[in-house]
Symmetry: C2
Subunit: 225 residues, 2 copies
DNA sequence: AGTTGTCTTGAGCGATCACTCAATGCTGGT
DNA sequence: ACCAGCATTGAGTGATCGCTCAAGACAACT
């Protein structure tokens, strides 16, 4: 009542005999996500986290158990947001293929706004994970698999909508699409100039939209022409 | 004369009054390359290097100055080898476009042999480099730029050979090709099953080889059909 | 064999790593 | 006003980080 700025976790934590958490879990996780995304798991120290979350080590460990557990929470947050962005594009565009094409273009557009944008955090985590951090390796691959599934579902929807031929291999198309997306975001971090990045995303987006016209195509590797 | 196994550094170090280096610089750099490629810069400790190079810390620093300097030497070695592999394919195949297609296929083939293959070390270094390691960031981007230049030169050769139309944007094609290559190698590390990886490389390779037929194509983003 | 000078050695440097816990605040209930 | 009880604190844990250097080992010369 007194505070209109209440957040989600307040609803989840209403038991008596305890005061509200003085730290804002949502804000803290956002800060952790930003930091981990920017520096990566290995290069981020607890000192960095203390500064970013404005919490002392004891509080961090009381709230998140360990650096790895905190990272996994941040990674999940990252994944859910990407998933939501894609879902929004699906509702915004009637055509599934258009939604996929726009998803690609959106990354080139975002790069124009923020020249310091980073590659996909999930991919980066997968590349960085060592043997001793099996949880990171497993979880990042899990998210990648889920993302492939999302893409495949959209290609399936395109097929159901008549945008793709009945015999289209949607799993294969999904893998190809994800490869494009991964590479595009890496090129963004590489620092490709805006025009070149836009060209690249356009090449990829057109590759998707071109599928709609060619209903006679048999496979993605051998487009009939 | 007594030893047929003499190596490069022996030729570079023939001043009197010194014994031959008891460590094998070539072997040591190979070991460093393997280790750094596998674990990445941050996750590789001096202890790891001591074990892999079979050298004590003092020797490592006497020979290579610092962990970062050693990494840069390993990275250069990595780059030169990739460059050489590509050059070999160019001499093995009369058609530039075929060479590029085979380069892609070779990574899917290599994956079948070694299921633990890693993504491109240069890309990985670029993604990992933090602000404090500017040298790594600069150098990895430098290698990526050089690689783009290599690809462009091959596309130019294809144009000269009549495989591509006169108005083909070879710089743009090179960026698109490099994006494909990067993504393919990341998917390999992700652990994509051999058949799926082979499909992916085939999709990319066919995309290249399909250019040869379509001499009427105006731009890579809008293939005429 | 002795001399010379470089190379190797490995204990150990200060700094930083991820992390812990006894002490201290602060809040809600009475 | 007081108590009960959890959250926060921050100095400090042992381990490990990248790195150094005085001392010893050894080969190439005389």
């Amino acid at each position: 009542m007194t505070n209109a700025g209440q957040r989600e976790q307040d609803r989840l934590y209403v038991s008596p005999m305890t005061r509200a958490r003085p730290y804002d879990r949502d804000t803290a996780l956002d800060a952790a996500l930003t930091l981990f995304w920017k520096k990566g798991y290995h290069a981020t120290s607890l000192k960095d986290l203390e500064a970013a979350l404005q919490m002392k080590p004891g509080s961090i460990y009381a709230a998140f158990k360990s650096k790895e557990a905190l990272f996994l929470l941040a990674l999940d947050r990252y994944y859910q947001r990407n998933r939501q962005t894609l879902a929004d594009l699906q509702t915004a565009h009637a055509s599934p293929l258009t939604a996929l094409a726009e998803f690609l273009r959106s990354f080139a557009k975002a790069e124009a706004d923020d020249p310091k944008r980073r590659a996909c955090m999930v991919v980066r985590t997968m590349l960085d994970a060592t043997e001793g951090e099996a949880a990171l390796a497993v979880q990042s691959r899990h998210y990648l698999d889920k993302m492939t599934g999302e893409f495949r579902a959209i290609f399936d929807a395109a097929k159901a909508a008549g945008e793709l031929p009945e015999d289209a291999d949607t799993a294969r198309l999904a893998r190809r699409y994800q490869a494009n997306l991964t590479a595009l975001r890496i090129e963004a971090q590489r620092g490709l100039e805006a025009a070149a990045l836009s060209d690249l995303s356009e090449d990829m987006a057109c590759e998707i939209e071109a599928m709609r016209m060619k209903k006679g195509a048999e496979s993605p590797s051998a487009p009939a022409n």
